[in-house]
């Protein structure tokens, strides 16, 4: 709790010309930047707990039904999953470069890196679309016409319920990230950012890296359950 009290470094009266990007109720750009990043980190905490609820359900049912989890997980295409993981880690890299470009004031580079990140995100969503289409064809979508051969149909339907909830929630977060990055790209294109004020880029970066982290956990949990056939 030892954050700086010097948040009000200069005495409020003798402040330099009011910086265009500084909002009225903040005293310095420094304070505004720290407030924004702290706010974003706190939001990411709520997201961790938000996905956490589903991880609890996943963990419980994996312990209760290891055989069903193994059989249902083998239905997923591991190549597509691994490829998607690589794509998303790549988009995290391009996002990091976008933030770095904004920090160093390179407007054009920021726009390019963000568009690259959006492109990789789009690839991920397209691959996801094909995976979902394949599930619909195999009737692996929970609900009245769910079909899963063999005795583990009940728990398998729970697996697919969690699969669609987790990946659906993750995809929704990616679409939101898409919209945010479109706005940021447009702002960067309009040369709105300076090395002193690039907070929106940094914040969307934090959000995007979080979305990547969620997938880093979803991939092994959903795709790599007992590929070695322990629970044959």
């Amino acid at each position: 709790m030892s954050d700086a009290i010097a948040a009000h470094a200069g005495s409020p009266g003798a402040h330099a010309a009011h910086h265009s990007d500084l909002q009225h109720h903040f005293d310095s750009l420094e304070q505004q930047h720290e407030a924004a990043t702290l706010g974003m980190w706190l939001f990411l905490i709520t997201e961790v707990l938000f996905f956490g609820g589903l991880f609890l359900a996943y963990t419980l049912y994996r312990i209760w039904y290891p055989v069903a989890w193994a059989e249902a997980s083998r239905e997923l295409d591991i190549v597509l999953g691994a490829f998607n993981t690589a794509v998303l880690i790549g988009s995290s890299l391009t996002m990091a470069f976008a933030v770095r470009a904004a920090q160093t004031g390179k407007q054009r580079a920021t726009v390019v890196w963000i568009l690259l990140t959006m492109a990789l995100g789009l690839v991920f969503l397209i691959v996801k679309y094909f995976e979902y289409k394949e599930k619909f064809e195999h009737h692996h979508v929970p609900g009245p016409n769910f079909a899963f051969e063999g005795p583990q149909a009940g728990p398998a339907q729970i697996y697919f319920s969690l699969y669609f909830l987790m990946t659906g929630l993750h995809a929704t977060h990616m679409i939101i990230g898409f919209v945010i990055m479109a706005v940021i790209a447009w702002m960067a294109h309009k040369k709105r950012f300076t090395p002193e004020w690039y907070t929106p880029v940094e914040i969307s970066g934090l959000y995007w890296h979080f979305v990547d982290i969620v997938w880093i956990f979803l991939f092994p949990l959903l795709y790599l359950v007992d590929r070695a056939g322990h629970f044959a």
Binding site: I78, T104, I216, P220
Partner: protein, 124 residues
């Protein structure tokens, strides 16, 4: 006023590490470690997530307050998972010597956690 600017080489290094770890986690999934597959997969995922948080999200260079909040998030996630599992994992324990504990569904006694590669095709 700009935050910490990492050199491009750091980013490439972290990217490489993440790709390698992804390959490792896929490879390890095909090795039969019995009930240890789950913890190993989680361990690799946690390592990758830590790398992303520290370097890509600049947590390493941020204020101690940010680091504390990241720790708080995972601490309370840990509480949610472990305290709930104290219920589910101990449902199988016998409540007294003679009785055969056991929930309708759920883990039998703790013996069910042992790992023993099943000899497939056994039985007539």
């Amino acid at each position: 006023m700009a935050g910490h600017i990492s050199p491009k080489s750091t980013y490439y290094a972290i990217f490489g590490a993440l790709m390698v770890l992804t390959a490792v986690t896929v490879a390890v999934a095909f090795v039969n470690l019995g009930s240890f597959n789950f913890p190993v997969a989680i361990g690799i995922a946690v390592t990758k997530a830590t790398l992303v948080i520290l370097f890509f999200m600049h947590a390493k260079y941020s204020s101690t307050l940010t680091k504390m909040f990241v720790g708080t998030a995972f601490f309370f996630l840990f509480i949610l998972l472990t305290l709930s599992l104290t219920d589910y994992l101990s449902r199988g324990f016998k409540t007294y010597e003679g009785g055969a504990g056991g929930a309708g569904y759920g883990v039998r006694s703790e013996s069910s956690m042992q790992s023993r590669p099943a000899t497939a095709g056994e039985g007539h």
